[in-house]
C-alpha cells in the first residue's frame, strides 16, 4: 500500500521548505523536495528601477547572504556601465565577503549542524548542554559580523559599499580593532575542523559534479566557472550553459549546468582548487583524503576549513588596507548607458550570478539572479532519493532525521532560491 512521509517544515535552515517521501510498502518510489518559500519576484520588482537602486534593493533577497548579493549586484551593474573601481574598493568588498562567509559558516556549523552531532533539538538546548561549544561558535560568528558592522556599516544589508566605491573608507583604528578581534578567534577557527570531521551516519551518496569559480589573485575578478569532470564557461556566457525549468512542487527553479546536476559550495571550491594558504592549507592537506572526489557529506568539514581560510584571508586584507593608508584610489561615479552586465561571486553556499540590462537612462530593463541553492536543487533531490532508497525498511523517524541532516549538508538558503531567473 502506498504511503507518504512528510517532513514539514524543514528546520534549522533558512526559509520554508518540506520533503515528501512516497513509498509503496517499504519501497521508496520518489522523493519530492518542495521549496515552498513565498515567491519574492525580485527580478520583476527591479525592472523600472535605476542602476543606483538595484544593488540596494536586491540585497534584500536574503539576509544571510545580503553582503554577497550586494557585492555581486554592484559588480554586475559596474560591468554593464563599464566602470572599474579602485583597489581600495575591491579589497574592502572582498574583506566584507570574507566576513560574510565567516558569519554564515559559523552560524550554520555551530547553531544549525552542531545540534545533529550532539543529538539535541536546536540552539536552545545547545546553550544548556554544550554552552562552551556554542559560545565558541558565537564568538567566531561575532567576529564575522563585526566586519559587516565596522566595514559595511550594518550587520545585514550593508550600506557602506556602494556603486563606484565606498561611503567612507574604514579608518586605521577601526581596522586594527577588527584585526584584534579576528586574531582572538583564529585559534578556535583552526580547531573547528576536528568537531565537524565527525562522519555522517549514513552511507555513501552519488558522487557530485562540482562547480565553482576559478580562483584568481586579484580580488573579485573571477570570470570563469569550472566543473569537475570537464567543462568550463565564462560568467558572461552563463545563460548558454545553465538551463532552468519550473517544477510543479517547488517555487525555486531547477537548474542543470552543462547538462548535469551541479553541486556548488565549500566542498566544490576546495575540490576545484581554492587557493588556500596558511593553516587552512595545512588542515586541508591533512583531511583531503576524507572529502575530495566524494559526495556532499564532506561539506561541513569543508566549511570548517573555510572558517579558518576566511579569517586568515580577512586578516591579510586588513593588512593591505592599513598599508594602503590614504592611497588606493578614489570613488568613481559611473555614468548610465545602455548595456548589459553580469558578475559572479562565491557566496558562502556557492556560485552566485547576477545579470542586468539597462537602457540609456540607466533604468533596469532586465534582471536575472542565479543562486547557489537553485543550482544545488537538482543534486540535493538526487541525493535525497538515493539516501531514502538506501534506508528502505529502516525506522521512519531515523530516515527523516537522516534526510534532514543531508539537506543541512547542502546548507540551503531557500529565500534566495525562489528568486529564480526568468525563462
Amino acid at each position: 500500500m502506498g504511503s507518504v512521509v512528510e517532513i514539514n517544515p524543514l528546520t534549522r535552515l533558512e526559509g520554508h521548505g518540506s520533503v515528501k517521501v512516497y513509498r509503496e510498502g517499504v519501497r521508496v518510489e520518489r522523493v519530492e523536495l518542495c521549496l515552498t518559500e513565498s515567491p519574492r519576484l525580485f527580478e520583476a520588482l527591479l525592472i523600472g528601477k535605476s542602476y543606483l537602486e538595484v544593488p540596494e534593493i536586491v540585497c534584500r533577497i536574503c539576509s544571510l547572504c545580503s553582503t554577497v548579493h550586494k557585492v555581486t549586484a554592484l559588480l554586475a551593474v559596474e560591468n554593464a556601465l563599464d566602470a572599474e573601481v579602485s583597489q581600495v574598493t575591491a579589497v574592502t568588498r572582498e574583506l566584507m565577503l570574507n566576513g560574510g562567509q565567516l558569519m554564515d559558516h559559523a552560524l550554520h556549523l555551530y547553531c544549525l549542524v552542531l545540534p545533529d552531532l550532539l543529538g539535541v533539538r536546536g540552539v536552545a538546548e545547545l546553550a544548556a548542554k554544550a554552552p562552551e561549544l556554542l559560545k565558541t561558535g558565537l564568538a567566531i560568528k561575532r567576529a564575522g559580523n563585526l566586519i559587516q558592522e565596522v566595514v559595511g556599516g550594518r550587520l545585514i544589508h550593508p550600506v557602506n559599499i556602494c556603486l563606484g566605491g565606498l561611503g567612507q573608507r574604514v579608518g586605521k583604528e577601526k581596522l586594527r580593532r577588527l584585526k584584534d578581534e579576528l586574531e582572538a578567534v583564529l585559534p578556535a577557527c583552526r580547531e573547528a575542523f576536528r568537531l565537524f570531521r565527525t562522519p555522517f551516519p549514513f552511507h555513501e551518496l552519488p558522487a557530485s559534479d562540482f562547480l565553482a569559480l576559478e580562483p584568481v589573485d586579484l580580488p573579485l575578478s573571477a570570470k570563469l566557472c569550472r566543473m569537475t569532470g570537464g567543462g568550463s564557461f565564462t560568467v558572461r556566457d552563463y545563460r548558454d550553459h545553465i538551463e532552468e525549468s519550473v517544477l510543479p512542487h517547488s517555487n525555486a527553479k531547477y537548474a542543470r549546468v552543462l547538462g548535469r546536476e551541479a553541486t556548488v559550495g565549500s566542498l566544490a571550491r576546495l575540490t576545484l582548487g581554492a587557493s588556500l594558504t596558511g593553516s587552512a592549507l595545512d588542515i586541508f592537506e591533512g583531511v583531503k583524503e576524507e572529502i575530495i572526489s566524494r559526495d556532499i557529506r564532506g561539506n561541513s568539514l569543508a566549511q570548517a576549513i573555510e572558517l579558518c581560510q576566511a579569517t586568515e584571508r580577512a586578516l591579510g586584507l586588513i593588512d593591505r588596507l592599513i598599508e594602503m593608508g590614504r592611497d588606493g584610489g578614489d570613488n568613481l561615479k559611473p555614468v548610465p548607458r545602455q548595456g548589459r552586465g553580469s558578475a559572479a561571486c562565491e557566496a558562502p553556499r556557492g556560485l552566485l550570478i547576477h545579470s542586468y540590462a539597462f537602457d540609456a537612462a540607466g533604468i533596469c530593463t532586465w534582471a536575472d539572479v542565479i543562486t547557489p541553492t537553485a543550482l544545488n536543487q537538482g543534486a540535493l533531490a538526487r541525493d535525497l532519493l538515493a539516501l531514502a532508497r538506501g534506508m528502505e525498511g529502516e525506522d521512519t523517524a531515523q530516515m527523516t532525521t537522516a534526510l534532514e541532516r543531508l539537506i543541512r549538508c547542502y546548507d540551503p538558503c531557500i529565500s534566495c532560491s525562489v528568486h529564480v531567473m526568468r525563462v
Binding site: P39, C62, L107, R121, L138, K141, G153, N160, G167, V423
Partner: protein, 252 residues
C-alpha cells in the same frame, strides 16, 4: 520561574529579522536560558505547531494563503503578537510595486506563461489582517531594539515607542546634511529614527528602511526634493521602496 514561551517565525521575507535575534551573540545564551523557544523552525527542530505562546515574534509580509494561515494561527495562539521588521509593519521591499503593477503581472514575468504559477497576492503588512501588540521597525531591525523587547517581555511589559525622525540622531552625530547641504535624495526627515542614522553617518542617504515616522511632514519633504530638481516619479519610486502607500499631501 516560568519561562515565557516564544514563537519566532517568518512569512514572506529574507529571514533577516530572525537572523537579528541570532546576531545577538553576546546575549543569546541568556535569551535561550530565560525564554522557552517553543517554536523557532529556523533554529530548532521538533517545534510544537499547535502550542500556545506568551509572545509570537514574526517577520515578513503577508503574500500567500500559507502566510495568512500562519499569521492567523500565531495570532490566535499567542497572547502578544510582535510585528518584527519593516515588511511586517509596512509591507517592505516585497510590496514596493503594489501601486504600479498587479501580482499576476509580476508572477508572469518571473515564472513565465503556461507554467505553474505559485499562489500569491499583493504583499501586505500584518495590520491589514490582525491586530498587533507591538512593532519593531527596520530592514533589518536594530539589535538593541530586539534586546529591549525581550527584556520588557521578561518584565511583563512592552518597551516605549519612539516617535522621532532619522534627522534627530543624524544631527546629534553632527553628520553633514545630505539633503540640505549636498542636495541628495535623503528621506531622513520623514523616516522613523532609532538606527542612530547609520547610513547618513557613512555618507549614504537614508533610503527609508524604517518606514514613516509619526506625523511625518510628507508634503514638505516632497517640495524640498522637487525644488532640488528630482522628478516626481523618481521621488515616489524611492519612497515606495519599503512602503507602497504614502499620502503625499500629508502636512504637519
Amino acid at each position: 520561574m516560568n519561562r515565557p514561551r516564544l514563537a519566532i517565525a517568518g512569512l514572506t521575507a529574507c529571514s533577516g529579522c530572525q537572523l537579528t535575534i541570532l546576531n545577538c551573540e553576546d546575549e543569546f545564551p541568556d535569551i535561550a536560558a530565560r525564554f522557552e523557544l517553543a517554536y523557532f523552525p529556523m533554529a530548532e527542530t521538533g517545534c510544537e505547531a499547535d502550542a500556545l505562546f506568551d509572545a509570537a515574534i514574526v517577520e515578513g509580509a503577508v503574500s500567500t494563503p500559507a502566510d495568512l494561515a500562519t499569521l492567523f494561527r500565531l495570532r490566535g495562539a499567542s497572547r502578544i503578537l510582535v510585528a518584527l521588521g519593516t515588511c511586517a509593519l509596512f509591507g517592505g521591499v516585497a510590496a514596493m510595486n503594489n501601486a504600479i503593477s498587479t501580482r499576476e503581472e509580476l508572477l508572469l514575468q518571473v515564472y513565465g506563461e503556461g507554467e505553474k504559477v505559485p499562489e500569491s497576492f499583493a504583499p501586505a503588512p500584518f495590520c491589514n489582517f490582525v491586530s498587533i501588540d507591538y512593532g519593531i521597525t527596520g530592514c533589518p531591525p536594530e539589535k538593541h531594539e530586539v534586546a529591549a523587547l525581550l527584556s520588557a517581555l521578561l518584565a511583563g511589559t512592552l518597551p516605549p515607542v519612539r516617535h522621532y525622525p532619522v534627522c534627530t540622531e543624524c544631527r546629534s552625530r553632527e553628520n553633514l546634511c545630505l539633503l540640505l547641504e549636498k542636495k541628495e535624495l535623503c528621506l531622513g526627515p520623514i523616516i522613523q529614527g532609532g538606527c542612530n542614522a547609520r547610513c547618513p553617518a557613512t555618507g549614504i542617504v537614508c533610503e527609508g528602511c524604517r518606514g514613516p515616522v509619526r506625523e511625518a511632514n510628507v508634503a514638505q519633504e516632497l517640495e524640498l526634493l522637487l525644488e532640488r530638481g528630482f522628478d516626481r516619479e523618481e521621488i515616489e519610486r524611492r519612497m515606495s521602496r519599503f512602503r507602497p502607500e504614502w499620502n503625499y499631501g500629508e502636512r504637519r
